[in-house]
């Protein structure tokens, strides 16, 4: 297991390097000029100066190398310094990945936006998992019952209604017609006491509801399929034959075995927690990571978009690895070595 982990980690390095190159090259070599958004009455020489100030004067490979150094060396050093309060080398003049539109370090922007995304999307995952697991278990245990049929129909709806429609729909119903919840998420709201906590819950309900519907739909299907696979196995018949109670058979034996693939699916979904649900954040004006990315794309802020996209890729690769390792730990039949 340990050797397998090391091997996979080593294998992840070239994958990530290739991905970083693809992302950098795609954004950098694409036609389009970052100064094209500026007013046209700027003289050509000033425009050239602006391009050079943004670092565009250098050839492609120099910029790629610089970005790699800033991302893989300078930023981690900076994080270490902040954590341990020490100074490593010439930290004043160390170049960081700077956003073009705000001129502040990209990593600082991400850290600033992270809590909003984690609150909303993370809570949606918690709610989704809490609903999906019991529903999946009951659906599978009572296959083709009314409960199962209704559950399947609702998961189909969750699959089919895109978030940009369900989000708008709940806004029409709950905020325009009923006036129960606000349609805009107030990012500046700080939780200090019980009342402000209630307000936070109140404004979180709609976005969490929209996201949780989708997560529940996917997880319920997985849970149901996995339970159905296991319920027909021989060991279940054995357990029943030796006189175990139905509860023990289902909840101890079947559920534990069915959870193995479901847990890996949950692990695979973690990157999208950090990635933020781009569309849902856009609908409810949650100022999270997704909104940061959209803002960067609209402003043509290449360093921000490059760094953010690459961080998403790192998370995807990392959690693929975590899912595989979890699978190996939880299921003794899987042997990687």
């Amino acid at each position: 297991m340990f050797r397998y982990t090391i091997r996979r980690l080593l294998f992840a390095i070239p994958t990530l390097l290739v991905i970083s190159f693809i992302i950098f090259a795609l954004l950098d070599l694409a036609p389009g000029d970052p100064t094209s958004q500026l007013p046209i009455n700027i003289p050509a020489e000033v425009r050239q100066k602006i391009r050079e100030a943004l670092g565009l004067g250098e050839p492609f490979y120099v910029r790629y190398g610089l970005w790699m150094q800033q991302f893989f060396v300078n930023e981690p050093l900076n994080i270490l310094e902040q954590w341990f309060g020490v100074t490593i080398g010439d930290s004043e003049n160390r170049l960081r990945v700077l956003s073009w539109s705000t001129r502040s370090p990209v990593v600082d922007l991400i850290v600033e936006r992270m809590p909003q995304t984690l609150w909303v999307v993370g809570m949606a995952y918690v709610v989704g998992i809490a609903i999906a697991l019991p529903v999946g278990v009951i659906s599978a245990y009572r296959q083709y019952s009314i409960f199962d049929q209704a559950g399947t129909f609702i998961t189909m709806i969750g699959f089919s209604i895109p978030p940009f429609f369900s989000g708008v729909l709940v806004i029409v119903i709950f905020s325009v017609n009923l006036g129960w919840f606000p349609s805009i998420y107030d990012t500046t709201h700080v939780v200090t006491d019980w009342d402000s906590f209630l307000k936070q819950i109140n404004q979180m309900i709609l976005p969490v509801m929209v996201l949780a519907l989708q997560i529940t739909a996917q997880l319920t299907r997985f849970m149901r399929a996995s339970m159905l696979d296991n319920l027909n196995q021989d060991y279940v018949r054995t357990a029943r034959a030796k006189g175990m109670s139905e509860q023990a058979v289902v909840l101890l034996h079947v559920l534990r075995n069915s959870m193995i693939p479901v847990i890996t699916v949950i692990a695979l979904a973690v990157p999208s927690i950090f990635g933020g649900a781009i569309i849902t954040e856009q609908i409810f004006k949650v100022n999270g990571i997704g909104a940061l990315l959209i803002g960067g794309i609209e402003a043509g802020d290449l360093p921000l978009v490059q760094t953010l996209t690459f961080i998403f890729a790192v998370l995807i690769v990392l959690f693929n690895l975590v899912a595989d390792i979890l699978y190996g730990i939880l299921d003794p039949r899987i042997r990687y070595d």
Partner: protein, 352 residues
Amino acid sequence: MTEQVTARAVAGGEAAEMGAHRSLWRDVWLQYRTHTGAVVGTFVFLFIVLGVIIGPFFHTTDPTYIDYRAKNTLHMFSCFYFSVPEAVENAGAWTTWSCFTDPAGFAELTAKRVKVSWTHPLGTDNYGRDTLAQLMAGGRVSLAVGVTAMALSIVLGALIGVLSGFFRWLDGPLMRLTDLFLALPILPLLLVMIMLFRETLRAAFGPEEGIFILVVSAIGITSWMQTARIVRGDVLSIKEREFVLAARSIGTRQHRIIGRHIFPNVLSPVMVSATLGLASAIITESALSFLGLGFPSDFPTWGRLLIDGRDFMDITPSRVIWPGLAISLTVLSVNYMGDGLRDALDPRIRGR
């Protein structure tokens, strides 16, 4: 695999007992018909497709024609919301029914609170463009994008899957490529691609065709990986079967083996992933339009109509509801069709 073979043999035995010859596709069709969701889904999908294609011949209003005096007209169903005695003083002989028979007079009577008209059965937007005509025009674009992008991704996926399953020396590189694509954050990259290449393609192919080519190829290039993996797995097992060995032993060339013997046998997973791919392509296109990176406003798709209607949600909520309903119904029906097709093509379920 042995299980599938026996199941097929059993099904064949049953057919022989009945005495009638049944082809594979007839079996599939018979099984498909028993799946209620799939049948309903097929009807709904056909209804939407026919409505979008034939509809404009019956409802001939130009989707881009601006009838400013009719702006913010409500849809005809809103007649039901207003019960006459409460909403209108001096109602006299007017009833809810007269809203349908004389919409203009009814609008006059209610002081324009119920502004409806048979010229615009589903209402108009804030410039007076007809919603029904826009929906049909938008549906043509959305469905065309969905079908083309799905076809592109299926062709790519099947090609890469067959190549890497059949040729061992291609397997490693192509599967690494697939893993690489799976590790890319898709939605951000789609957005970035569209932002970067929009202007160039617009200049080259014109505003509408340029965006169409861009959106279709962006969705196709980023969604072939699942199909490739499934096809590869199937090809790996099929190429070890006896009939392939037999074909090889009589000297069949490799491209004939792939075309005649291997590809027809992986057709069923390809068909299932085609239906699911169609659903996700429609959703992705609408999401791109919704984020403002799809088609321009004067060339509407369902996603674009939805985002344009969002700002007028409290005046005319129906402008959001109709396109959203169209997207959701299409995707729901396609998903059900895919479900039914998967069951029908699975020999372990078929015939039970």
